[in-house]
């Protein structure tokens, strides 16, 4: 879908975890998606180390902004706004991105939009498949989140339907990869081995799928333990662990529950669109099974390309552009990085009068300011 030349041009900054992402979009058109990842530095720890991630963000930020501007072929002065992930995420990591975005917006005299990481994961699909249908059901799965969300307007109304009650789906992939000695991160490598294995070889448990269990919540902790025990039993018996079958059967248990619950939520709510985002959305079996089940249920599935599913700046820019297009209030210069920003807050509007910023604007502290 073609964008008008006057659609908002927005730069987005994402630092909620281990990717330093800077993206630039014009309306719903992707112009640049520059990402610097510190994932290799975390590999030997078997998980993301917050301080290592924060240090890497500081180093990578300015070069990544430069790269995004070059890739997009636009001048910073032409931007209509700067968007940044205000939360949720790792507190120290978020703070680097928020500091950069504020300084960038202030120095350029542009409005600042602190936006929600989860809403950004949903909104990024506009860059792939055009304007989001309203309402949209979204299944977000990554190392940090596993949520089912329903949105009627991505800039103002995101409702939590369900979420994991213990581990995120991506964490389970990392853990099982570690038990199988396959390294970190676990998602891509499990996916690879699973392609050559039998998904029905081992019947691993499907968490929270009993008749009395919450319909849309997830649990992967029990599955994780069951798989680890199964592997350990094999090893204890001196038998070889069938890595491909374990990977395939484990992966099947995860994606079966994810897709089953997502499709059920769509049916229950009468929503005919499902979008899947987050790093685990790159999983080939999740995509295939979701496609199959959505088709059977008459639901249209939208999954962005893998690079847009993992954390990146383009998704933040996409949501920022939507905020500008819909005239949402800009954030104030005292915007916080909020590691537990509720999913129900798609962005963090300012409390000062009017919206937008310029250097002549006087920022008075609102009377109901939490800190005053």
């Amino acid at each position: 879908m073609a964008d008008l030349r006057d659609a908002p041009l927005v730069l987005g900054i994402e630092t909620s975890c281990d990717e330093t992402g800077v993206g630039i979009v014009r309306g719903t058109t992707l112009l640049a998606d520059a990402v610097a990842s510190s994932v290799d530095e975390h590999a030997r720890f078997g998980g993301v180390v917050p301080e290592v991630a924060s240090r890497a963000h500081l180093e990578a930020m300015v070069p990544t902004i430069d790269r995004a501007l070059k890739e997009a072929g636009v001048a910073a002065t032409d931007l209509d706004g700067i968007a940044v992930t205000a939360g949720p995420g790792l507190a120290g990591a978020l703070l680097v991105g928020v500091s950069a975005a504020k300084a960038y917006a202030y120095a350029l005299g542009k409005p600042l939009y602190g936006v929600n990481h989860l809403a950004s994961h949903i909104c990024v699909d506009q860059l792939e498949h055009g304007a989001l249908p309203e309402p949209t059901m979204a299944l977000l799965v990554s190392g940090g989140h596993s949520s089912l969300l329903l949105s009627t307007d991505i800039t103002s109304d995101v409702r939590p339907m369900g979420a994991t009650i213990d581990d995120a789906a991506g964490e389970a992939f990392d853990k099982i990869a570690r038990v199988l000695n396959l390294g970190f991160p676990g998602g891509p490598v499990i996916d690879r081995y699973a392609k050559e294995g039998d998904p029905e070889a081992i019947a691993f448990p499907r968490g929270l799928t009993g008749p009395r269990d919450p319909a849309y919540d997830f649990s992967f902790s029990g599955l994780k333990t069951a798989v680890a025990r199964w592997i350990e039993a094999k090893r204890a018996a001196g038998e070889e662990v069938p890595v491909r079958d374990v990977a395939a059967s484990f992966q099947e248990a995860v994606v079966d529950v994810l897709t089953r619950k997502a499709v059920r939520a769509c049916k229950d709510e009468g929503v005919d669109h499902l979008m899947i985002g987050g790093g685990v959305a790159a999983n080939s079996r999740l995509r295939a099974l979701a496609q199959e089940r959505c088709e059977a249920a008459g639901i249209r599935l939208r999954v962005p390309r893998p690079k847009l599913c993992t954390d990146n700046g383009a998704m933040v820019a996409a949501l920022g552009a939507e905020m500008v297009a819909r005239g949402r209030a800009a954030s104030d210069w005292d915007l916080s990085a909020d590691s537990s920003l509720p999913v129900t807050d798609p962005h963090v509007p300012g409390t000062s009068q009017g919206h937008g910023h310029n250097h002549d604007h006087v920022h008075e502290v609102a009377k109901d300011n939490l800190y005053s």
Partner: protein
């Protein structure tokens, strides 16, 4: 010349503007938990007080610590990003040097800031312009011999009177001192360091030896 100075390496969130002759405006707030919220509004206020705009700034100097990581990065990231947009040089100065520069002590002394975890960031000075040891992070009791008999400045000294019985002003670093020191050095033709953080500690991270066995023994 119009130099913007920032420091967020310690609980003080401090901003100043220096025109090459004197500090024309400044702001200091002490709040260890709100560096991210306070810094940009402080920059805005200082510029307004001086009746100028950010694009009039010809250079930036930022305190590079040592300091507890999270707050420290707010100042560095802000300075770097301003530098990117404005196309002006961004200099780094040791936060302890700015603290020492603001003291009135004649003769040798110590500057110490709170490093949390019962440690201090510290360095020894021959006088307020001359640091004689590399910045370090230590438990106060472990450096008692090295600082014995010396007066000390900074909140780190006040926190540990057993090691630093002779604590003096200033308690907190000010960007006004940071700016003045930077201007003095620049006017003397000195090259200032790049704005790279002085963490002095390695990230806390455990390398898991192996996964935790879940099968009950």
């Amino acid at each position: 010349m119009l130099l913007l100075a920032l420091d967020t390496a310690t609980p003080a969130v401090t901003v100043a503007l220096h025109d090459g002759e004197s500090v024309v405006a400044s702001s200091s707030q002490v709040d260890a938990r709100r560096h991210g919220e306070l810094l940009l509004p402080a920059v805005d206020r200082v510029l307004a007080e001086a009746g100028t705009k950010l694009d009039a700034v010809t250079g930036i100097v930022v305190g590079v610590g040592p300091g507890p990581y999270t707050g420290l990065r707010v100042g560095l990231m802000t300075a770097d990003t301003f530098g990117l947009v404005l196309g002006v040089p961004v200099h780094g100065l040791c936060t302890l040097d700015a603290l020492a520069y603001a003291s009135c002590i004649e003769g040798p002394f110590v500057a110490a800031t709170d490093a949390r975890r019962k440690e201090v960031y510290w360095a020894r000075y021959a006088d307020r312009r001359t640091r004689v040891t590399e910045p370090a992070v230590d438990r106060p009791a472990d450096i008692a011999d090295q600082v014995a008999g010396l007066p000390a400045v900074g909140a780190g000294a006040r926190l540990y009177p057993d090691t630093f019985p002779n604590a003096h002003e200033p308690e907190h670093v000010s960007a006004a001192a940071l700016a003045s020191l930077a201007v003095e050095k620049l006017q003397a033709g000195e090259e200032l360091a790049a704005p790279r953080p002085l963490y002095l500690r390695r990230p806390d991270a455990q390398v898991p030896k192996n996964y935790k066995v879940v099968t009950p023994k």
